[in-house]
């Protein structure tokens, strides 16, 4: 398989994944572009990889985890995002339902590793081992990321349906 053929096959899923991960079209475009350039450079390793689609997600996630240009320009500011996240993460005695907007805002407030873990699990339905391969950490760490992330999002885990 040639690189362009591989890229065309991977890209539709990869751009959606990047969009869900970053919540920002331009940033998604940047990280996927970077990922393609890096993948081209590492084409030999990529073709030898057991799961090239996970390898590509690993590059995308690493690009996102790094501090990149867009982040500098748009997020390096004394914004209260993290504070809002922390306030929202406090126990809510009223049991207020978090709406979609709230949830989106809370997602943006998670650590990037937590965001990546949540997206890989609940958007891409990846298992712990796959997420661990993407993040380069132990499966136990993945479970911790997801558990803490869900807790911060105030998402109730239905133990009968899901296990983390």
């Amino acid at each position: 398989m040639q690189f362009e053929e591989f890229a065309r096959e991977q890209l539709p899923g990869l751009v959606r994944f990047a969009a869900v991960l970053t919540g920002d079209r331009e940033l998604a475009q940047d990280v996927v572009q970077d990922a393609l350039v890096r993948a081209h450079r590492a084409w030999r390793q990529l073709t030898a990889a057991d799961r090239p689609e996970l390898y590509m997600r690993k590059i995308v996630v690493n690009g996102y985890l790094g501090w990149r240009r867009r982040w500098y320009q748009r997020s390096v500011r004394p914004a209260p995002d993290v504070l809002r996240f922390r306030e929202a993460a406090e126990p809510d005695p009223a049991g207020r339902i978090a709406d979609a907007d709230q949830l989106t805002g809370l997602l943006a407030g998670l650590s990037r590793a937590q965001q990546a873990s949540i997206v890989l699990r609940f958007y891409e339905d990846r298992d712990d081992d796959e997420i661990a391969a993407v993040l380069g950490c132990a499966p136990g760490t993945v479970r911790s990321h997801i558990s803490r992330g869900l807790s911060s999002l105030r998402v109730r885990l239905d133990e009968d349906k899901e296990s983390v």
Partner: protein, 288 residues
């Protein structure tokens, strides 16, 4: 509380933000081709650089700017003025690598990484710390309610927020906080100087080993998100240029660039500021 189905719906709704795969591939392909061309050009540049080395060293000797006493001096920039200095605070712990520092009016931030997994951030802000912050830098582990996020008043008009993504105990965090010193971080970033257009002030300046970001706006105190059309955004990096793919909402849709050696300098502006942006771009000197 909400449930996982709602979370899934929210995540799937974000798919709408996905960029066009064909446009991404086209831009990436252009970058790959440029990279190949640059690989050939680099051989020539290396030969030239040997002869130019002595001149380059003389120029670098004039580049040093004294560190600022205060962490957030960027608004003082003017035509010909030195670039903002690093904030007078840093984490002195060899196991954490400084990734970048940033300054804005009333704000400075430092970002450290460890093992490509964990982050440690220090923010310094003007004013009074929010409710719940400690009255001074903590000296005992028992003072840390949340060891991963600690805020304290660091003077009459300045407060510090240190936080990490690494799971740490209160004792470990206290140890790290003890390594936060009033010395500026040392980063050898590429940008040496430029001519700031009259009326423009530094809104954001970031520094990391091979990259600088500089955002100039007429009034940094009234920042719009992310920028308004009167601003300029300059980016210096050793890697290749990002794709020219402005969105309709982009307040600075005009992208210009030039290369100096292995570095690319990009500037984004509004179309009406094209000439001034070009002048700014041409004034850039690198410390390389």
């Amino acid at each position: 509380m909400t449930d996982l189905d709602q979370l899934r719906r929210v995540l799937h709704a974000q798919e709408a933000l996905a960029p066009d795969p064909d446009a991404v591939l086209a831009a990436a392909t252009r970058r790959i081709r440029r990279r190949r061309a640059a690989g050939v050009a680099a051989v020539t540049l290396t030969v030239v650089a040997v002869g130019a080395g002595a001149i380059g060293l003389l120029e670098r000797g004039t580049a040093a700017a004294p560190p600022a006493a205060h962490p957030a001096p960027p608004a003082a920039a003017a035509p010909g003025a030195p670039l903002p200095a690093a904030p007078s605070i840093s984490l002195e712990d060899g196991s954490w690598q400084l990734l970048m520092w940033a300054v804005q009016p009333h704000f400075a931030g430092l970002h450290y990484g460890r093992d490509h997994r964990y982050a440690f951030e220090i923010d310094v802000r003007d004013g009074t710390a929010p409710h719940g912050a400690l009255p001074a830098k903590p000296t005992a582990a028992g003072q840390l309610r949340d060891p991963r996020s600690v805020r304290w008043q660091d003077g009459p008009d300045r407060w510090v927020w240190a936080r990490t993504t690494k799971p740490v105990t209160a004792v470990e965090m206290l140890d790290l906080l003890g390594k936060i010193r009033a010395t500026p971080p040392v980063v050898h970033s590429p940008l040496k100087s430029l001519q700031v257009p009259a009326g423009q002030k530094v809104t954001t300046f970031t520094s990391e080993p091979e990259t600088n970001t500089l955002v100039l706006c007429p009034d940094p105190e009234t920042m719009r998100a992310p920028l308004d059309s009167r601003c300029y955004s300059l980016f210096v990096t050793r890697t290749e240029r990002a794709a020219d793919s402005p969105s309709p909402e982009d307040p600075l849709p005009l992208h210009q660039h030039r290369t100096i050696g292995a570095y690319t300098i990009e500037i984004d502006s509004s179309p009406s500021n094209k000439a001034a942006a070009r002048e700014l771009l041409d004034s850039v000197q690198l410390d390389r």
